[in-house]
């Protein structure tokens, strides 16, 4: 049952991810990206990582993508405004893509056939256990990353403030 659900949702993820790239309209792209994140949330639930699922839901779908959509709506991009690229760039792109495939296949060949990783503790993704891990063994990295985020936030506020003073 779970395996079938996984394959179904994984197919949807791939389809939606492709649609993000192929959609002509940037707004449609973002909407497909939201759907892609939605399928990711389902994946997290299937992996029994409830907290990650819900945070992915709130932060990515509920906040970050709203901001993406917000900015794109303000920019008012159209199909016509998309710059057409010169053939030279297209050729360079194809060659670079080919090189990437060769590298990827080479590195995949080096690793053995994927061995499924079994979690020691199945309930690791539940809020309680995750909290104990984060505030226990991983306290320092957790606090450091939150400081980093705070400094980024203060920096953003400072940048917008300075503009106001000059104008």
């Amino acid at each position: 049952m779970s395996t079938q659900v996984f394959y179904f949702v994984a197919t949807l993820s791939i389809i939606f991810s492709l649609m993000v790239i192929f959609a002509k309209n940037p707004i449609h792209s973002v909407l497909y990206l939201i759907l892609t994140f939605f399928t990711f949330t389902v994946h997290y639930v299937l992996l029994n990582a409830q907290f990650l699922a819900v945070v992915n839901f709130i932060v990515y779908m509920g906040a970050i993508m709203v901001l993406f959509l917000f900015v794109l709506m303000l920019l008012n991009l159209n199909n016509e405004t998309e710059p057409s690229k010169s053939p030279l760039i297209k050729i360079v792109g194809v060659i670079a893509g080919g090189c990437l495939i060769v590298t990827l296949i080479g590195s995949l060949k080096a690793t053995a056939i994927s061995s499924p990783l079994i979690l020691k503790n199945q309930g690791l993704g539940l809020v309680e256990n995750l909290g104990k891990e984060l505030f226990g063994p991983f306290l320092l990295p957790f606090e450091l990353s939150s400081l980093l985020l705070l400094s980024a936030m203060v920096g953003a506020v400072l940048l917008s403030k300075r503009d106001e003073v000059e104008a």
Partner: protein, 345 residues
């Protein structure tokens, strides 16, 4: 997963869905009656006794009106907008505990669709998704007023979500759980969370007003500046969906407020009732009490709408970012310090 379980949940979901829709329908009637009362008028009184059939008449009118899809709109998103708004409004009811488990026909049935252990975060996620209906509809209309309204709705929602989340954190410090069921059970009798978290409750309530786009924060629909706001181009039942979504949102936020802060289905003297009324009627009475609280909050939403004038947009942002967020952070710190002191001694 046995069939009985699925049937039980299916019935529960259907009943809750039906109740949400009926309440949304009669909220439109209640809103007009409350407005009439506050402005010393009669309100709707033609359809049926006391105008009680007015929502049916309105619904029929909505269905009968001609439906117009603007030719310059992006058609599928234009249709998806109101549908998404209604969907996001409805799925919030899934984790709210409507009553303690009830004994029906020799079987104990929990009156909650799903007791997930991240219930509070789920509600929060649904609230943050709610804005997509407005944004997509506003953008797809291909109308400047709709677009401006959609952008207003987005920035308003994001701003007030932060204060809302911070006010919930202070509550979670006390409850030590994210499951709505356990939060309700901790508030047995008259031991409601609002006595411990009055500031948190006020912040949460103000944010719910902003999240549901209700007056005094209904700037996305500010008709003096934006005509009809995001639903300017909408007609017929699509417009009806947007209006319905607003009332269902109101119902769900009232239910969440009653659950988180006002004890859900708990009431003083519930042990006495439980001992005397038996395991079938006592829980159902608790559900009635919960709905009484919900109706009070819905009334409160309307009361505020017809009392306080609309904010200006910069006032709204100032209140959110400079008023509520620092207040909520201070509330978290004070709560944390008090809990630490209590645990120490």
């Amino acid at each position: 997963m046995d069939t009985g379980f699925i049937i039980e949940k299916f019935i529960l979901v259907t009943v809750i869905f039906g109740i949400s829709l009926v309440i949304a329908m009669y909220s439109t009637y209640a809103e007009r009656k409350v407005a009439a009362y506050l402005q010393d008028r009669l309100g709707p009184d033609r359809a049926g006794p006391f105008g009680i059939l007015q929502p049916l008449a309105d619904g029929l009118k909505m269905f009968m009106k001609e439906e117009i899809i603007p030719t310059t709109s992006s058609k599928w998103l234009f249709i998806a907008g109101p549908g998404l708004a209604l969907l996001c409004a409805c799925i919030g009811t899934a984790v709210i505990p409507w009553g303690s488990p009830v004994l029906i026909a020799g079987k104990v049935i929990p009156l909650q669709v799903s007791d997930i252990n991240v219930g509070v975060l789920y509600i929060f996620g649904v609230v943050s998704l709610g804005v997509y209906g407005v944004m997509i509809g506003g953008w797809a209309s291909n109308n400047k007023y709709s677009l401006l309204s959609a952008i207003r709705a987005a920035s308003q929602n994001i701003s007030y979500e932060i204060a809302m989340g911070l006010s919930i954190i202070a509550l979670l410090l006390m409850t030590n759980t994210l499951s709505l069921k356990q939060i309700v059970e901790q508030q047995h009798g008259f031991n409601w969370n609002v006595w411990y978290q009055p500031v948190g409750f006020i912040i949460f309530m103000v944010c719910s007003f902003a999240e549901t786009n209700r007056a005094p924060f209904d700037l996305p629909e500010c008709e003096t500046e934006l005509i009809g706001g995001y639903h300017t181009e909408y007609s017929s039942m699509k417009l009806g969906f947007y209006l319905f979504a607003e009332y269902i949102n109101m119902f769900v936020s009232s239910a969440v407020m009653a659950t988180l802060y006002f004890g859900g289905y708990n009431y003083p003297g519930m042990d006495y009732i439980a001992a005397h009324w038996g395991p079938t009627w006592a829980p159902l009475f608790g559900t009635v009490i919960l709905f009484a609280k919900i109706f009070f909050f819905i009334f409160f939403f309307m009361w505020v709408r017809w009392t306080i004038p609309r904010f200006r947009y910069d006032q709204l942002m100032n209140l959110g970012w400079r008023g509520l967020i620092p207040l909520a952070i201070a509330n978290i710190i004070i709560t944390g310090v008090v809990i630490a002191i209590i645990e120490k001694f």
